[in-house]
C-alpha cells in the first residue's frame, strides 16, 4: 500500500476557497465544479430555479474567489496597463473599474478581466488565466511591482435587484451613490472591504473584495442581512445561465486564448468577440496588438460573436415529429453546435441556454460575415431523439436581457 504524506495529499487536491467552510455545508447536491484550480459549488440545491431567480428577482451570493487577482503598483503602473490592455488606462479615475480584453501582437485575445484604479499608482487586475508572466514580460524597464494576490483575497459577488438594499444594511457607508463600474472602500462589521459595482450577470450587482482570513464574517453578515430580501447562496451553474442572457462570454468556453490555440482559426480578436466598445483605438501611444487591431477595424471582422434566438414554434415542430414536447437542457450547455445558413455551415454556438426570464432558448454564436447582422435567419443544431436536426433561429443583438435597474 502506498502511503501519501499529508503535505503531498494536500497538493493532490484542488484548492478550496476561503468560504469553503460555509459553502460546503450548504452545497446539498455536492456538485462541485472546477474553477482555476479550485472547487466551487455548482449549485446549492438540486434545481437551479431558485438560485437563478435570486439573480433576477432577489439577490444571489456567489463565491468568486478563484478569479486571478493582481496588484500592480508603482510610478509606471498605469503605463504598463495602458500598454497591455485595449482601454485608455490614463483616463481611468481612482475608484473606477474598466472591463477589458488584452491581446498579443497580432491583436488576438489572450484573456479578459477588469482593471480597478485603487490609487494614483495602484491598480487591481482580475483575469481568468494566470497573467503574471505576461505582465512581467511587458514591464521590462518599468518602475512597477506586480504581485499576485489570488489566494490572499477572497471575493464575493452579490447580484440581483435587491443587492443594493442588502449592502446598505451591512456596509458602514451607503452605496446609493456608487455608479456602475465604480468602486469604493468601506467596511462590513469590522472587516475592511472594497465594493465594486460589477458582476457577471447583467443585473444590478456588486463584488466585494476582502482579505482571505476575514472572509467568513462577511459571508455571514451578508447572508443574515439578506434573509428578509430572499438572498440565496448561488453556484456557478445559475450564474452561467445569467451571463449568457447578459451576452457575456467566458474564456475556454466561448473563446480560446491565443497562447493556448493550436491553430490560427481558434484565436479570436476583440472585434470578433463584440468588444468594439472596449477597444480605444483613439488612445495615445502604443499598446500590444494596436496595428493589427487598426487594420481589422478598417476591414471589419471576418467573424462575430452575436446572439441567436431559437424559434420555439420551429423547435416544437421538430419534436412534434417524434411525438414529444421540446426537450432542452435546463442549464447552460457548454458544447459546440453547428449554425447553418441554407444548409451550409456558417458558424457555431459555444454556449446555449434556456432563459427563464425571457422564456426563450438562446445561444452565444460565432458567425461568419455577412451572416452576423441582426435579423439574419439561420438554423442551429438540436438533437431530437438521437437525430441531428436544424431548428430555425434569428440573429439578435447582445445582450439578450438588460433590466432597466442594471445601471440605475
Amino acid at each position: 500500500m502506498i502511503s501519501v504524506a499529508p503535505m503531498m495529499l494536500e497538493t493532490l487536491q484542488l484548492k478550496r476557497t476561503p468560504f469553503h467552510e460555509r459553502t460546503s455545508r450548504l452545497c446539498t447536491p455536492q456538485n462541485w465544479r472546477r474553477w482555476a484550480g479550485h472547487i466551487v459549488a455548482g449549485s446549492y440545491e438540486l434545481s437551479l430555479d431558485r438560485e437563478y431567480w435570486a439573480i433576477r428577482d432577489a439577490a444571489a451570493l456567489i463565491d468568486v474567489s478563484p478569479l486571478m487577482k493582481y496588484v500592480i503598483e508603482g510610478p509606471d503602473a498605469a503605463r504598463l496597463l495602458h500598454r497591455i490592455t485595449t482601454r485608455d488606462i490614463f483616463k481611468l479615475q481612482i475608484g473606477q473599474v474598466y472591463y477589458t480584453g488584452w491581446c498579443d501582437d497580432e491583436g488576438k485575445l489572450l484573456d479578459d478581466g477588469t482593471v480597478a484604479r485603487l490609487d494614483d499608482q495602484r491598480f487591481r487586475m482580475t483575469s481568468a488565466e494566470p497573467s503574471l508572466r505576461w505582465l512581467s514580460m511587458n514591464a521590462v524597464g518599468m518602475n512597477v511591482t506586480i504581485s499576485e494576490v489570488t489566494d490572499k483575497m477572497a471575493a464575493l459577488s452579490l447580484q440581483g435587484p435587491k443587492s443594493r438594499a442588502i449592502l446598505n444594511r451591512v456596509c458602514k457607508d451607503p452605496l446609493d451613490k456608487l455608479k456602475y463600474f465604480r468602486m469604493t472602500q468601506t467596511s462590513i462589521g469590522n472587516v475592511s472591504v472594497s465594493v465594486s459595482r460589477t458582476g457577471y450577470t447583467g443585473d444590478l450587482g456588486y463584488e466585494i473584495w476582502m482579505d482571505a482570513d476575514q472572509a467568513l464574517p462577511v459571508w455571514d453578515a451578508l447572508m443574515q442581512a439578506g434573509d428578509d430580501y430572499g438572498i440565496a447562496p448561488c453556484g456557478i451553474l445559475a450564474m452561467d445561465m445569467a451571463r449568457v442572457e447578459a451576452g457575456l462570454f467566458m474564456l475556454d468556453v466561448d473563446y480560446t486564448s491565443a497562447t493556448h490555440a493550436w491553430i490560427g482559426g481558434q484565436k479570436s480578436t476583440p472585434f470578433e468577440m463584440g468588444l468594439d466598445w472596449a477597444v480605444n483605438l483613439d488612445k495615445k501611444g502604443y499598446f500590444v496588438g494596436r496595428r493589427a487591431l487598426e487594420k481589422e477595424k478598417r476591414e471589419g471582422p471576418a467573424w462575430k460573436l452575436v446572439g441567436l434566438e431559437i424559434d420555439w414554434v420551429g423547435l416544437e415542430r421538430l419534436f412534434a415529429d417524434v411525438g414529444m414536447p421540446p426537450q432542452i437542457p435546463g442549464m447552460a450547455m457548454r458544447g459546440s453546435l453547428p449554425v447553418m445558413h441554407n444548409g451550409k455551415q456558417v458558424g457555431y454556438a459555444s454556449t446555449s441556454t434556456w432563459s427563464p426570464v425571457l422564456k426563450k432558448y438562446i445561444a452565444l454564436v460565432h458567425v461568419q460575415r455577412p451572416y452576423y447582422e441582426p435579423g439574419t435567419a439561420l438554423t442551429m443544431e438540436v438533437t431530437v431523439e438521437h437525430h441531428r436536426r436544424q431548428a430555425p433561429a434569428t440573429v439578435v443583438k447582445l445582450p439578450f436581457y438588460e433590466p432597466e435597474w442594471k445601471k440605475k
Partner: protein, 527 residues
Amino acid sequence: MSVNQYDAIVIGAGHNGLIAGAYLARAGKKVVVLERRDVVGGAAVTEEIFKGYRFTEFSYVVSLLRPEIIRDLELPRHGLKILPLPSTVTPMDNGDYLAAWEDHDQTRREIYRHSPRDAEAADEYSRVMARAAKAIKPVIGLVPPDPSSMSPRDLMGLLKLGQYAKSLSEKELYRIAKLVTQSSADLLNEWFEFDPLKGTKSASGIIGTFLGPHSPGTAYVLLHHYMGEIDGAFRAWGFAKNGTGGVTAAIASSARALGVEIRTGASVKQVIVKGGRAAGVALENGDELHAKVVMSAADPKRSFLQFVESKHFPDEFTQQIRNFRVRGSSGKVNIALSELPDFKCLPGESPLHRGAISISPSIEYIERAYDEAKYGQFSKQPYIDMIIPSMIDRDMAPPGHHVMSCFVQYAPYDIEGGWDDAKRDAFGETVISTIERYAPNIRRAIVGKQVITPKDIERIAGITGGNIFHGELLLHQLFFLRPAPQWADFRTPLPGYYFGASGAHPGGGVMGAAGKMAADAALKDWR
C-alpha cells in the same frame, strides 16, 4: 371617426379580455377594453388591502397560461416573471408531514418514508397522467367542432379530432375515457394507499367544482391540472411576480403597446343591437360606444342574460345559459402576517415554506367537507391550499413580514340564509382555527385579514355565482357544450357578438386560451 367609434369593444379587463383586445389590436383593429372596476385584472388582480402587504386577491398561481400567448404578446418584455413554487407539503395530525418536491429523488425518498409502495406508484402515476394530459392537450387548442353540425368547418374539425383519436392507442383511449368519467377518489384508490397523499392529490380534482372527491367527473379536473406540466422547458407553472395581478399588468402593458385603449370605471349596461347585429355598448354613465364587433369576457350569465336583451337570442339558447351551472364553492382568506406561520411539523423556517401548504389529510376529510356544503353550510373543517407569496417574491410584504394566500373549499354561494357579515366572519374564523391546529402561532401573527366568500367574488370580481372558472368544469359543460351546445366556437346567436372568457372552451385558470381563440374567431369573420 368619433371618439367612441371603435372596430372592437371588449367587455371586461380580466386576463381573457385583455388578451382578446391585444390580439385584435395586433391585427390592426382599433380596440377598447372596458372595465367596470377602477383596476384591471378581473380575478387576476393584486391589491394592497393593508398598507405594505400585497394580496394576490383571488387567483394565486399560474399553471396554464398558454405559451403562444406569452410569446405572441411578448409578455416577458412587459414584466411577466414566473417564479418557482417548488414543493407541496401536507401537515399531518400526528405532527409529521408529507412533502412533494420538484426533484424526483427527493419526492420518492419522502413518500417512501410513509409508504414504499406509494413511492413507486407515484412515479408511474405521474407519467401516466402526463401522457394522458399530452394526449388530450391538442384538443384544448382546437375550436370545438359541433358533432351535430354539417358545416364544413365543424366537419373538418371532427375529422381532425377523429384522426387524432385514431393516433392514440386503444389503451390510451380507454384510459382517457375512464379518466373523464371517473371520480378522483376511485382513480387514486387504484394507485395509492397513504391517506395524506391521496387527500392532497384528490384536492386538485375538486378545485372550483361543487363536487366531492367521490363524485364522478372529478378525475378529469385532476388531469386538467397536469396540462401545465407538459410544455417541456416552456412550462409556466409557478407564482407570478407581483401575484396574478402581475400577469394581467404584463398583458395590459402589452395590449397598450399594441394600441389598445383600456377604460376603467366603465360599467357596461347593455349591448346595443342594430339591424340584428351587435353594434356597440351603452355604459351605466350614459355614454355610448360603437363598434363592428363586441366581445364579452364576462361570465356567461352576465354576457347573455344581462348585457343583451333576451329577445335577441333564441329561447332555447337563453334556457341553456340559465341552466349553466356556476355554483361558487370556494372562498379566499388573505392574511397579512408579522411572522411566518410556525408549523408544528416544520418548526421555524423551512424550504417548504416556499411552496404550497395543503390542508388535505385524507380523501374522507375532503368528502366530509363537501357533505356540509351540499346542505348549504361552509365546511367546518375545510380543504385549504395555502401559499406564502412573500417567501417567493419579497416585494409582496414589508421586509421580515409576510402575506399568506389561503384558498378554501367548500364555501357554497347558496349558503343557508344567505351570506352576511356575521357568516363571513365565522367563515374566516373557521379557516384561522383550522390553520391554528397545525400552526399555533398564526393568530398572534395576524396583522390583517381579508375574507372573501363566493358572494364577494361575485360582488368584487363580477363573476356570477362566484365560481372561479365562470362555470364548473363538469363533463356536460365542457368542450362543445361550453357554454351551450352549438355555441362553443366563441360566436353567439347574435351576429357581431363574441364570447371569450373562462365560461367558454377550454375554461378555467389563468390560461387565456378562450380570449385568444375568441379574437381569432372575430378576425376570421371580419369583413
